[in-house]
């Protein structure tokens, strides 16, 4: 479904990603793990078009997208759930969700999807008229996921979905992501929490210094001595 080949991304003269290659098959849940600054977030930004790669190819469903705009890429079915500040704080919950369907031309379908998201996350419906900035961290995360779903994507990129969340909410978030995958949406996720990321993934890539250091099925990597020693604290 998605193929990244020889991706190179630079910030000024610094190479954040050097010759990174990976692939994601339809229906998979793939995770990228690695230390801070390894180039995971940069890779996601390059895929969603927020960052123009210096070299390499990104192919989504047979079409090259490395030079496409974020709008065009979103239009092809890739949604990005960025890390950090996840919502528009002064827009209401409902307006945030509407922003997710910004490019869609079928208001009826978008309204239907919003209804589905409200059924899945009733707390969002209760607070639909409330400014998103007044939600708790966990609710904001649900809103961000809901917003990504509003574009009816076929591939969702999640960047550090557990960052800054209380432990019980981290588990809920991962459950939601599994559920999204089970409904047929392909997921590519960057996650600091290596144990959880490997456990839930079909396949994982270990990124080090801007390139893939290891690749394998999630459970295989869990048992890999190097991964254990360097990333799982054992």
């Amino acid at each position: 479904m998605l193929v990244v080949e020889g991706l190179v991304c630079r910030y000024g003269k610094v190479n954040a990603v050097r010759e990174l290659s990976l692939r994601v098959e339809e229906g998979e849940l793939v995770t990228l793990i690695g230390a801070n600054g390894a180039g995971k977030t940069t890779t996601l930004k390059a895929i969603s078009g927020l960052l123009r790669p210096a070299a390499g190819r990104i192919v989504f469903e047979g079409a090259e997208i490395q030079a496409a705009s974020p709008r065009a890429i979103l239009g092809r079915g890739i949604a990005h759930c960025p890390e950090g500040r996840r919502v528009f704080p002064y827009l209401t919950v409902q307006e945030n969700l509407e922003m997710g369907s910004y490019l869609r031309r079928d208001p009826a379908g978008a309204a239907e999807d919003m209804g589905r998201i409200f059924r899945r996350f009733p707390v969002l419906e209760e607070r639909r008229r409330q400014a998103a900035g007044t939600l708790s961290g966990g609710e904001q995360q649900m809103l961000a996921i809901g917003r990504a779903l509003m574009s009816r994507p076929r591939l969702i990129l999640f960047d550090e979905p557990s960052l800054g969340l209380a432990p019980n909410l981290v588990e809920t978030t991962f459950d939601i992501i599994r559920e999204i995958r089970n409904q047929g949406v392909t997921v590519l996720m960057v996650e600091q929490n290596a144990y959880a990321a490997l456990e839930m993934a079909d396949r994982s890539y270990l990124i080090e210094a801007g390139a893939v250091a290891l690749e394998g099925r999630g459970r295989e990597l869990l048992g890999n001595p190097y991964v254990k020693q360097a990333y799982l604290g054992g």
Partner: protein, 341 residues
């Protein structure tokens, strides 16, 4: 205390010339209205998209000069032996030309600077205003430089059956300014409540996120710059035909500062904020004039500004809205806590 509905406000404003007979008071209100239009235009950029146009007076001045020149006519010696003569045109055409030319410059500045935005936009707009001022000062053939454009004709309206009405007096000018104020308010309101307005707010709050949901950031910033500049140009046109003289001092930096103060104290990113700010800082100088010398007045403004920023950092309008909400919440058993105004 109940809120006045919008039509009641409009009726009140429209009734003012019927009971305010003092020409000086009307003059102050007309000036305030012109500044309100300019402040509303600045608010579209500063309040809704978060971009600070510190050269906003340039668009105001361009509107004033364009409108004045089109209605006065001018001739330019383009090459030896060839002079381009522009015959005077009706004032309404000049006014529209001022709006259009200001909007065109807004597009140009937006295109030039929004690829980088933020601090660069501030620098580009400040420089732009200074360059335009130098042009107005030195292109004497066109602008008369420091000798100023004089005898600018007032607005003329031909009414079917009633003949021509020329706006010499304060009253018709008051209504004209009021009409442009209401129209600008309506245009901005329509815009910020549309899909485009949602995009403005989204990119102000979180540009990367806005881009990732598919908002074409540069396109919307340029759109905001064009409309903002065009409305500022309209304010400039009103000014030119009311004051009837335009000189390069119209581009003074202090006028931009006054607009920014009006927007910030009134409440940036709110529809009424710039209007409230313009009323306060349009009328206050006239009240203070009786009791304080100009230098002292500036100190007093500065002091008021500091107090407002310190105690009402969001501005007067948002503060009033949350005060009203708090009262409503304590009055009704259900409460309005959590609901957004």
């Amino acid at each position: 205390m109940r809120r006045w509905p919008a039509w009641a406000w409009v009726a009140f404003l429209a009734s003012i010339p019927l009971w305010v007979r003092n020409q000086y008071y009307l003059h102050v209100l007309i000036n305030t209205g012109i500044f309100a239009v300019a402040a509303m235009s600045l608010n579209l950029l500063l309040g809704y998209t978060g971009q600070l146009s510190l050269g906003h007076v340039a668009f105001f001045g361009i509107g004033a000069y364009t409108s004045a020149l089109v209605s006065l006519g001018f001739d330019l010696q383009l090459a030896a032996g060839y002079t381009f003569v522009f015959e005077p045109r009706p004032v309404w055409l000049g006014f529209l030309a001022g709006v259009a030319v200001a909007g065109l410059f807004g597009w140009l500045i937006g295109k030039l600077s929004f690829r980088v935005r933020g601090a660069y936009f501030v620098i580009v707009t400040v420089s732009f205003a200074e360059v335009v001022k130098l042009v107005a000062l030195n292109w004497v053939d066109l602008t008369e430089g420091p000798m100023a454009l004089n005898n600018i004709p007032p607005v003329t309206l031909s009414l079917p059956g009633l003949g021509e009405l020329t706006f010499w007096k304060k009253e018709p000018n008051y209504y004209l300014v009021l009409a442009v104020c209401l129209l600008s308010y309506a245009v901005i309101r329509r815009l910020v409540q549309s899909r485009a307005g949602r995009a403005f707010i989204a990119l102000r709050e979180n540009e990367a996120l806005a881009e990732s949901v598919g908002v074409d950031v540069t396109r919307f910033l340029v759109l905001a710059a064009v409309i903002s500049a065009a409305i500022a140009g309209a304010a400039g046109g009103l000014y030119a035909h009311y004051i009837k003289i335009v000189d390069p001092d119209i581009f003074l930096f202090i006028y931009t500062v006054v607009m920014v103060i009006m927007v910030v104290t009134g409440g940036k990113g709110t529809l009424l904020g710039p209007v409230v700010g313009a009323v306060i800082f349009g009328i206050l100088p006239e009240i203070l004039r009786e009791v304080a010398r100009p230098e002292v007045q500036w100190i007093i403004y500065g002091f008021i500004m500091i107090l407002i920023v310190f105690f009402l950092p969001e501005g007067i309008v948002p503060a009033a809205a949350s005060w009203r909400k708090a009262r409503a919440a304590s009055a009704s058993p259900l409460g309005a806590a959590g609901e957004r105004a």
